[in-house]
């Protein structure tokens, strides 16, 4: 079980939890604004961009190669950027905070 805190670009805070699936799916199930997941979670559209809270980045980990390349196209890319369709939900990421970029 992992509890995730999303903070949207209009400063709405949404706390959601799940056992499995991707963080993008969790965000969509909980109507988190700014997470569109247009491609359905195959790392092709970059519409699920989040900044992982600085202190949580180690828990979440760095993006894979394709994801990192996709992120480069994003205007608000920084060293804590992730596409959350590529973050699997597990105990390891329990308690992390994600700032939704769009």
């Amino acid at each position: 079980m992992a509890k995730i805190t999303f903070i949207t670009s209009d400063n709405e805070t949404i706390v959601a939890e799940a056992n499995s699936g991707s963080v993008m799916e969790l965000a969509k199930d909980n109507n988190v604004n700014g997470i569109d997941g247009d491609c359905g979670g195959v790392c092709s559209c970059a519409t699920c961009h989040v900044h992982v809270a600085a202190g949580d980045f180690d828990k979440v980990g760095a993006p894979g190669e394709i994801e990192a390349d996709m992120l480069e196209l994003e205007d608000n890319y920084n060293e804590h950027s992730r596409l959350c369709c590529q973050i699997d939900i597990s105990d390891a990421i329990d308690g992390v905070t994600l700032h939704v970029v769009n």
Binding site: E25, K28, D29, N30, N31, N33, D36, D38, C39, G40, V42, C43, S44, C45, E65, I66, E67, D69, M70, E72, L73
Partner: protein
């Protein structure tokens, strides 16, 4: 809103986000809560996950945003004088603004024997895939014939192969993906499928299907025959234009719209697969079958209806996943006069760059998101690529190294 798939649903939510306070009513013939279509031929076909896993939005989202979903309802006609539409239930719905996202339906070619074939399906809806899955069972040893070697056909082939079926793809043209990509890309995908054990055959014009009980035999013009337990037809689409046509809206290769996605009646908009629109980046009229176009046009229509200045000027992009290959495409390659292939050190990782003179038109990237991203940047910014450096694998794939000085 007529049509509640990628375009319709994204439009509705975008319109709320723009501050529209009036009613938003979505109609669609499909009774299933709107879902992502791309996974239908991939993840949804190969797993037991329910379609809800691929929903575009949760049921609560529609409630929260007060977006009314009227599913399983068809529309019979549009009456522009009274600003009403007539539902197939006989009811009348009034509108202030009407958005058409009527999409397309699978093209079912008039092949003798199609109507009587056993387990023959198109693939456009969740229901189609449910029927295909039921026909496949556990997949093992089932003989599947796929008519059409386009993206849909090849994605279905890859998925069915993964499930253990014996898969044959029959393509009428001399190469797969003939309508949408360069011969070099076609060759790559044909080989990929062959290596994975899919029987991909080209120059195969299906002329009839003979069926006895549960056994189909697919006959081609060259006399060859292919037995099939299951047949999937993926030969393209027909745009759903009837409503717009009957309403007297201007039609070309789709419902003609301006940069604000308005049809020839400014109270009626058309977005997604059904819209024939001008792409300013390429300065030509196009009709696109893609998620990107549906979503981007939805945003423009919503902004315009909410009273904002907005025009459509997106760079088109597409993707396809087959086996372990991720294909990402950006731009429109039509009219190219030179194709350069950039190889990488890894196997099955390369990119195809389409040029007209010095102008980069499009990039197809195979397992190579970097090429896709760089291609997007160069096309958007109108920058020129140094072709010599591009094909030199000793030059890193980085914008600064590839720009033409």
């Amino acid at each position: 809103m007529i049509g509640a798939s990628h375009a319709g649903v994204n439009f509705a939510f975008a319109l709320r986000k723009e501050g529209w306070e009036g009613r938003i009513v979505l109609f669609d013939k499909d009774p299933v809560r709107p879902y992502h279509r791309p996974p239908l031929s991939k993840a949804y076909l190969t797993s037991d996950d329910p379609i809800e896993k691929h929903s575009l939005k949760s049921a609560e989202s529609y409630e929260k945003e007060q977006i009314e979903l009227c599913l399983g309802v068809g529309i019979i006609s549009i009456n522009r004088d009274t600003k009403t539409i007539t539902l197939d239930t006989g009811e009348i719905q009034v509108y202030d603004q009407l958005v058409l996202a009527t999409g397309a339906r699978p093209l079912m070619p008039p092949i003798p024997g199609m109507d009587t074939a056993h387990q023959l399906y198109p693939l456009r809806t969740a229901h189609d895939v449910q029927q295909i899955k039921a026909a496949l069972g556990d997949g093992k040893g089932k003989r599947a014939v796929i008519i059409g070697g386009g993206y849909i056909g090849l994605e279905i082939a890859a998925s069915m192969k993964k499930l253990g079926a014996e898969v044959t793809v029959l393509e009428r043209e001399a190469r797969v993906l003939a309508r949408v990509t360069a011969p070099e890309m076609s060759a790559f995908f044909q080989q990929l499928h062959a290596e994975q054990g899919v029987n991909v055959l080209t120059n195969k014009n299906v002329v009839s299907i003979a069926t006895e009980g549960a056994d189909n035999i697919v006959h081609c013009a060259d006399g060859s025959q292919y037995p099939a337990d299951l047949i999937v037809v993926g030969v393209g689409i027909r745009v759903n234009l009837e409503l717009a046509k009957d309403a007297g809206l201007e039609i070309e290769n789709g419902i003609k719209v301006n940069a604000q996605t308005q049809t020839s009646d400014t109270a009626i908009y058309a977005i997604g697969d059904c819209s024939f629109h001008h792409n300013p980046l390429y300065n030509r009229w196009v009709r696109l079958e893609s998620v990107q176009n549906a979503v981007d046009q939805a945003k423009v229509a919503a902004a315009v209806i909410a009273g904002k200045d907005a025009s459509y000027n997106s760079l088109p992009w597409f993707w396809s996943d087959q086996f372990d290959v991720k294909l990402q495409m950006v731009g429109l390659s039509e009219g190219y006069d030179e194709l350069l292939i950039r190889e990488e050190e890894s196997e099955r990782k390369f990119s195809a760059w389409y040029f007209r003179g010095d102008q980069l038109l499009a990039v197809d990237a195979v397992n190579n998101a970097k090429a896709y991203v760089i291609g997007t940047k160069f096309i958007t910014e109108g920058k020129q690529v140094d072709k010599g450096k591009l094909i030199d694998t000793d030059v890193p794939l980085k914008p600064a190294d590839l720009i033409k000085n």
